[in-house]
Amino acid sequence: MERGLYIAASGMLAEQARQDLISHDLANASTPGYKADRTTTKSFSEMLLRDASSGQPIGALGLGARIDKQVTDLTPGPLRETGEPLDFAIQGEGFFAVQGKNGVRYTRDGQFQVSARGDLVTTNGDAVLGAGGRPVRVGDDGTVAGNEIGVTQLDAAKRAGENLFTGTARGASKATVRVGALEGSAVDPITTMADMLGSLRAFEAGQRVITTIDATLSKAANQVGAL
């Protein structure tokens, strides 16, 4: 009986974590090149209950659930024309490589600027790397051709904040770079809002289970044996 309480609580905790991820997605509905997460919820390994005296199996007992895997969905977002000479969008798969403070990082946010030294940099000031792995020079006319910027294929891309990803580079990508456009956020408002509502109701259901078990326990504790 008490076990049921904890199983229901674990379900609530998993929904709470999912809700945190959804909030983050909704907050980034306008972040260029943002990729939403997909999560999988998995139950803990089940236990087989057995009658201690006869050895007869009674059945399996689950121990609740938790979010087991978080996968960033790398489906490209919609492209938006901005007309700015230093906005770039990747058409297809791959990432821009930038020289971060702690090594090379990857991003699909192509809102770049020019540094005082004339190099192409991100809005955080990290140098954008060209096809040869060197910083990209901005021409005297303030423009950069799309093919001067390297697009890298990435394995095991993992979000690192600040629109950056870490991962294992796997050579150049065949994707083309479009100048004067930005990739929008890949957060789909409709499914995300639906997920949010679904998760909220699942959380509520977990609460109902706990209050029901609690009421049953209360009866057992206070009414059994009462005249």
């Binding site: 998993a14 945190d20 959804i22 005082a116 609460q207």
Partner: protein, 245 residues
Amino acid sequence: MLEGLRAAATGMTAQQQRMDALSNDIANVNTTAYKHERTSFRDLVASPTGLGGAEQVGAGAGAAAKSAGRGWGQGGLQATEQPLDVAIQGDGFLQVKLADGRTALTRSGSLHVDARGRVATSEGSLLQPPVTLPVGTSPSDVQIASDGTVSAQGRPIGRMVLVSVTSPHKLDDASAGVYTTNAASGPPRAAGGDTTLAQGALEASNVDLGDAMVELMAAQRGFQMASQAVRSQDEMLSIANGLKQ
């Protein structure tokens, strides 16, 4: 739990910042040589979700917006037929001296002559290097060539120098339409040969009202979505609160 609430709230703050920039743009749709503001968004670092997820599952901390400087696209030219109105075509600025002695840059070419015959901007800042009309010259006798050479009745009397900087996105705003350079923008240098001056015209604001309104609506919807997430998180807290009857 409160992390999710905060993440959703950061989304609202970020959209608010974008709406502020857009409102400013819309207010300046008729300001001479106004350049629209750009807002950039970034996602904030992830932290573990706690008991509800496996160790490697992390929830981000929301979003943040910051200014990404201005969009320096050319504004349209409006003919005014005023002899001291100049419009800059291409990448560059007029150099002016502010009242406090600092040198600044502007593209707002609505010029006039002060009491001592010196050419100044509408705010009263003198051109740098100064251009002075000889005594008795009326502004209607002034010709300004596309390279900035100023002549009065056929005789050259000075030159309006055009300068540019390497990174105009990083210029500081000194006052409306007036910018100062800093280490990140790079020092002023002579503008390229394809930057020209047009006399008798002003550069219009480069705000596209249609784009700005669409952006504003998108920002508003983004704000609403983030506020729904706040509400949902709040409801979860209230449900959790209802566990103990």
